[in-house]
């Protein structure tokens, strides 16, 4: 319809234009108008000239910037490569010595020479300091044991830690976050309190780095930031915290159920995950209580954990909360029931299999299969069902190749 209308509109304009030009008087009028407007174009010409000069200058400026940037980047890359090669030679000389050799006076003297050499030759330039810090961090990430300790000690002897601690006072969140990351990586605890003050920082990156550092550096209460965490813990944030927790000594891990009462549901979710990951069976009663949490995401996460723990006793609670749960949580509850339920739950699962929601039916079928022989027998029987989708769902679930 619109297209036809536009055709008509186009025809109208063409016809109007034809009529206009058919009448000489109009043409004359147009000529006069254009001539008068041409006289007024002088100001436009001036404006255009100014703009032309401006754009030309910008273009040339950008071109020069581009070429200079390219040359500078190339120079920087080459310089970085060369200086890091030199650092690597020096650092590997310090790292690769056996432990016995490291105790000798000769080794200690040689190490002193290296430190002196670094200071005198390279560390007067800020850029070299930056590259050296980066390189020590990189090597430290890839080494454990005495080699990592040597690198850490060298970092301290070169007083690079002082600079990082100084950078914690920078108004720039990026510089602060970088310093926090560096101190955490090298396990330098001098500024732990200062870092902990940043665990609730408004900047997401700095906050995360500070929390990661707190977990690594604080030996007394590394997870205290969870107590007062009012910020939303995004999935990304949780993944990063979980990653760092995986690297610390298991003895330092707290009882994560301590935060099940947190007013922040994302903290509760995260702690449920950690409870499961670190097999904190003692938290199972508290986990069961979370099935009645007001936040549905927490309920889903609790159900998942209870399922993984195989807590058959939670089956009745799961059935109770199932009724009023939102669909994604219902799916999680069904999945959990499949993992922790017993044969008493079979009638409920059959009921779910035969109702109209395909996703729920599919999950119920999966759970029936997981419950073992009796569940599988039910599924085999239902493959002949005339109800929409039920037979095909059962076949799908029973097909081991999928």
């Amino acid at each position: 319809m619109l297209f036809r209308f536009r055709y008509l509109l186009l025809c109208f304009f063409v016809a109007s234009a034809a009529m206009v030009f058919a009448q000489q008087s109009y043409v004359d009028e147009a000529a006069e108008m254009i001539e008068s407007s041409l006289n007024s174009t002088e100001i436009l010409i001036r404006v255009c000239t100014v703009l032309l000069i401006l754009f030309t200058v910008f273009f040339i400026g950008f071109f020069i910037t581009l070429m200079i940037a390219r040359s500078t980047h190339r120079y920087d890359e080459q310089y970085e490569k060369n200086i890091k090669e030199k650092f690597e030679l020096l650092l590997t000389g310090v790292i690769f010595n056996d432990d016995a050799e490291m105790q000798t006076d000769e080794w200690k003297a040689s190490r002193k020479r290296v430190v002196k050499h670094f200071k005198k030759r390279y560390l007067h330039k800020r850029i070299n300091k930056k590259y050296l810090r980066e390189h020590i961090i990189l090597l430290h990430k890839n080494f454990i044991g005495s080699a990592a300790d040597v690198l850490r000690n060298l970092y301290i002897e070169l007083k690079l830690d002082r600079q990082a601690i100084k950078e914690l006072n920078s108004p720039d969140w990026g510089i602060q976050a970088n310093a926090v990351k560096e101190l955490a990586q090298l396990n330098i605890t001098k500024a732990t309190e200062k870092i902990k003050n940043r665990t609730q920082h408004e900047n997401q990156i700095l906050r995360l780095e500070a929390q990661v550092a707190s977990i690594r550096l604080d030996k007394k209460d590394p997870f205290s930031f969870l107590d007062k965490n009012r910020n939303y813990l995004t999935e990304w944030h949780q993944v990063n915290l979980a990653h760092i927790i995986d690297q610390i000594n298991r003895d330092l891990l707290p009882d994560f159920s301590r935060w099940f009462v947190s007013p922040n549901p994302t903290v509760v979710e995260f702690c449920i995950k950690m409870t499961l990951q670190y097999d904190q069976f003692a938290s199972i009663p508290a986990l069961s209580q979370l099935l009645y949490h007001k936040n549905q995401h927490v309920v889903g996460e609790a159900a998942k954990a209870l399922g993984e723990f195989g807590v058959t006793e939670a089956q009745s609670d799961m059935l109770y909360v199932y009724r009023d749960a939102i669909t994604p949580v219902k799916l999680q509850l069904l999945k959990a029931i499949g993992k922790c339920g017993n044969n008493e739950i079979l009638p409920f699962l059959i009921q779910q299999l035969l109702q109209n929601d395909i996703n729920i039916a599919m999950e119920a079928a999966n759970s029936l299969k997981k419950l073992g022989e009796e569940g599988i027998a039910i599924l085999e029987k239902q493959t002949l069902s005339n109800l929409y989708g039920v037979g095909d769902i059962c076949k799908h679930v029973l097909d081991e190749r999928i």
């Binding site: 536009r6 147009a30 010409i45 754009f55 910008f58 950008f62 940037a69 097909d399 190749r401």
Partner: protein, 474 residues
């Protein structure tokens, strides 16, 4: 209204239009610079390996339609299966290929038909069978064999088959960077607001070194037509979409690589079969859906180069592609005309939609009319040549300044082309672009308009030279 008034209004309208277009480019450039700076700064602290090893990272379904791809399909699937991610499945939808695509896949991956229950939540043509490999090494692979229904239909079939909550729709013949999923999944995990879609930068792979479905070295294309497109893509992705993403006003996520929240895609009814611009139409529909349901959401764009595609190498094929893009734009705008300056849809209705309407759809028409008007002035002897030359030079330098700015952005961000000679080649290309390439894009845009009014619906044949020689027809 007299002719005097008419011409005066026409002049004023053209002037106002030109100023608005130019200013909008400047504003977008400033916003992009800011957004890119923030992204790069944040990115320094991101370690994607954390996601790679995490059991808490979301699972992803990769969906790739295939039509007559028998010569390259085995290699393409291998490349997709080797992507760096932990929990994902690769769904290849054979869209009724007329060649031996299906048999080639069956033979190469030891496929056999399974009793797969298809949860047909979105309409699509009949699925003839779902196949899985008997080889455990390919357990992530699912092959769907269906009747031919076009790209949108194939993607819908893939969505029905997919088992995970995040889906990514890709062109099977594109080269996806190994860490593409890791990067694209991040906004879904990171944002507090509901992210419904993410898109990444598409780059031109012509003349690049490619081995085993992986890009080894990026090079500036040897021939001029793809080189023009390099400039065009850099400008569109680094200057345009980055800014629109910052404003949360992005209307288009390229069909070559897009990530979507499956629940929202299904709630919206999936890809539309009735348009040749199904990628843009889906994003607009998803946004409308979220606004209609008063739900806060985001569409995020990532400036990292994640996908490399072969650009049309000659004007004939490029013309068909641009013609299709124009028709797709028109169809999407028409389907969602309710958005036009509709305050109910916020920025989407008040800015994004009108921008696309005036500066994407109408731009070639207005440019062409402007040219006609100029010719009329010349014929009638009313042209002021001095003014014309000054104005022309101003517009030309403005255009190339914007283009070179996108090169500056590239230099300060990803530096894919790392030789001085590459930069010089691209600068020479961008200087020629407004004179040689742009008039053609205007013409193709006009032709797209004309074809749309004629009721053309076909995609048009896309013959590609290929990383290996091949023909794609959809």
């Amino acid at each position: 209204m007299t002719v005097h008034h008419f011409i005066e209004y026409l002049n004023a309208a053209i002037f106002f239009y030109a100023i608005t277009v130019s200013l909008s480019y400047v504003v977008l450039a400033v916003l992009s610079a800011r957004a890119l700076h923030i992204y790069l700064r944040k990115n320094k602290f991101i370690d994607h390996n954390v996601t790679l090893t995490s059991p808490y990272a979301p699972s992803v379904s990769l969906i790739a339609p295939a039509y007559n791809e028998e010569r390259t399909i085995v290699e393409n699937i291998r490349s997709l299966l080797s992507i760096h991610y932990n929990a994902f499945e690769v769904i290849i939808v054979n869209d009724g290929s007329k060649d031996a695509t299906m048999q080639t896949m069956i033979d190469a991956y030891n496929l056999e038909k399974v009793d797969f229950f298809v949860n047909a939540q979105i309409k699509c043509k009949t699925i003839k069978g779902v196949y899985k490999s008997t080889n455990k090494a390919y357990k992530k692979l699912v092959i769907v064999d269906k009747e031919n229904g076009g790209k949108a239909d194939a993607l819908n079939a893939g969505i029905n088959i997919s088992q995970y909550d995040l889906i990514t729709c890709i062109d099977v013949d594109c080269i996806i960077e190994q860490d593409a999923i890791l990067k694209m999944v991040k906004p879904f995990m990171e944002e507090r607001e509901h992210v419904i879609a993410t898109g990444g930068v598409i780059r031109i792979a012509n003349s690049c070194d490619i081995e085993d479905g992986r890009l080894l070295t990026a090079r500036v294309p040897d021939s001029i037509i793809p080189r023009f497109q390099v400039i065009e893509y850099l400008r569109a992705f680094l200057l345009g979409r980055m800014a629109w993403s910052k404003l949360n006003g992005l209307l288009l996520i390229s069909g070559a690589l897009g990530f979507f929240d499956k629940k929202i895609v299904i709630a919206c009814g999936g890809y539309n079969h009735n348009t040749v611009g199904e990628d843009m139409e889906l994003v607009v529909r998803m946004r409308c859906y979220m606004s209609d349901h008063k739900r806060k959401y985001k569409v995020v764009y990532i400036p990292d180069p994640l996908c490399w595609t072969e650009a049309p190498g000659d004007t004939k094929i490029l013309g068909r592609q641009r013609n299709r893009w124009m028709r797709g734009t028109m169809e999407t705008l028409w389907m969602h005309k309710k958005l036009f300056f509709n305050p109910k849809y916020g920025l989407l209705g008040m800015l994004s939609y009108p921008f696309w309407m005036f500066f994407e759809w109408l731009a070639p028409i207005i440019e062409f009319l402007g040219l006609l008007y100029f010719i009329f002035l010349v014929i009638m002897g009313y042209s002021n040549w001095y003014f014309f030359l000054i104005l022309f030079a101003t517009v030309y330098f403005f255009a190339i300044t914007i283009s070179i700015l996108s090169l500056v952005f590239e230099e300060y961000s990803y530096r894919q082309y790392n030789k001085h000679r590459d930069i010089l080649k691209l600068v020479a290309t961008l200087m020629l672009e407004p004179l040689i390439y742009h008039p053609r894009t205007v013409w193709w845009g006009l032709k797209g308009n004309f074809d749309k009014f004629k009721g053309k619906q076909a995609w048009g044949d896309m013959t590609r030279a290929g990383f290996q020689k091949k023909v794609i027809k959809s």
